[in-house]
């Protein structure tokens, strides 16, 4: 399929038809095509992979909220759907350069749950997986088990950055040291690190930030936001292209604000209700078994260097 949606930083370019086509893929994962660092459109995973292959650029896949250990309705076998997500990734015509897992690897941060995550991802055809923790991964020990297993080479509570083919990737942690009544928190130490990390980058450098809880206020009544995200975004606003990838809310939401594109990915485990559409943000346990996979997914992001644009594709597990 070649349906492609192009937009420039000045207009979001998303028409109703294109939006609906994008949404049709929501739930199995998101494939982003990066082209010059700007979100360019929404295409199917295979098309994104082909586009990347044709131009010699690269793609990567975001997976999120695998919640290994969850065993209730509407999905009593989250390891199986996580495996399906990996199978979907392995079926891409162009293998992704790497994977990003945006947190809630596990449901209860238990050793055996962390083990299962590693075992399933061992089968993924990707050279590397980069992680940030979700709040479920830091239960009980403020993230120590997570860091021991998945935080090697990171700093602080697990934050990190790396460069790939001219794009600067930044993994942020906003799930530790949370306060009563508050939202996600980055904290001053991490903000100081972020400032230092990006100080010497040219403003033309495409930036991709990934973190668990959304870095924009989606629905504070349910804790869907980060209280000091504005400080981080202020540090990054000089860059011409900023893409922010989050998880946590188990559904796709997208917002374009100037040069910043925000996108949340689906879970591979269970869907959560739209903001405010239920008494609480827990699992949507009444979803029929044959519908669940259409609400789970992965996200593929392809980067095309010559026109500095990003394309994102979400694909479901159905």
């Amino acid at each position: 399929m070649t349906d492609k949606l192009i937009h420039t930083p000045s207009t979001d370019g998303i028409d109703r038809r294109g939006f609906l086509k994008c949404m049709a893929w929501v739930g199995t994962g998101l494939i982003w095509t990066m082209s010059g660092g700007v979100l360019a459109g929404c295409i199917q995973p295979q098309a994104a992979g082909q586009a990347a292959a044709a131009t010699g650029d690269f793609s990567f896949v975001q997976i999120s909220d695998s919640h290994i250990g969850f065993d209730k309705d509407p999905n009593k076998d989250v390891t199986s759907t996580f495996q399906q997500a990996v199978d979907k990734i392995n079926a891409l015509s162009t293998p992704p350069a790497f994977l990003l897992h945006t947190g809630d690897l596990t449901h209860l941060a238990k050793p055996e749950q962390f083990d299962t995550v590693g075992q399933v991802l061992k089968g993924a055809k990707a050279s590397q997986v980069f992680y940030v923790p979700g709040e479920h991964d830091v239960i009980g020990d403020n993230g120590k088990s997570y860091l021991d297993r998945y935080g090697k080479g990171t700093q602080g509570a697990g934050w990190q950055s790396f460069d790939y083919k001219g794009v600067h990737f930044i993994g942020l942690v906003n799930v530790v040291n949370l306060k009563a009544g508050g939202l996600g928190v980055l904290g001053q130490e991490q903000l100081d690190w972020l400032k230092q990390d990006t100080a010497n980058l040219a403003t033309s450098t495409p930036i991709v930030v990934f973190a668990h809880i959304p870095l924009w206020t989606v629905y504070p009544q349910w804790g869907w936001g980060t209280q000091d995200s504005e400080q981080a975004l202020t540090l990054l606003k000089r860059f011409g292209s900023l893409t922010v990838l989050n998880g946590h809310i188990h559904q796709i939401l997208q917002k374009v604000e100037g040069n910043v594109t925000f996108h949340t990915a689906r879970s591979t485990a269970f869907p959560q209700p739209e903001p405010g559409k239920a008494p609480a943000p827990g699992p949507m346990k009444d979803v029929p078994a044959d519908k669940v996979r259409s609400m789970l997914g992965i996200t593929n992001v392809a980067y095309v260097e010559h026109n500095s644009m990003l394309a994102v594709t979400d694909a479901t597990l159905a």
């Binding site: 209730k72 941060a109 479920h136 009563a180 346990k285």
Partner: protein, 131 residues
Amino acid sequence: MSLVRLHVRHILLGMSGLITLWLFVACVPLIRDSRAEPPRNATAPTPVLSNAQVSINNFTFTPDVITVTVGTTVTWRNQDDTPHTVTEANHLFGSKGLDTDDQFAFRFTDTGVYTYFCSIHPMMVGHVVVK
């Protein structure tokens, strides 16, 4: 009231508000504390409870404010399909991750107003008033 059996593996006891001690027991009878009797001249409009239960349901602590006497053990039970914690705002006490139907008990030995929250979903906040 007969002895209450707590189906919790961890019972956290607060001692003098400073020393906490984890007892690792599979299933123990809760020893009633003689100090847990409500004061005989209590006239406060808010009921003062000698032992108390708080349920966690729909991402809410119910009741979100309870008033108890010194020596009372408060027990929280998670009735959600999502794990929660009971974490005192200043980390004076706290549970592990409570999965569905898990319980956590804490005995309050000092007067005061204790604010707690779920460290996984920090918008969930509750209070225990100890008189």
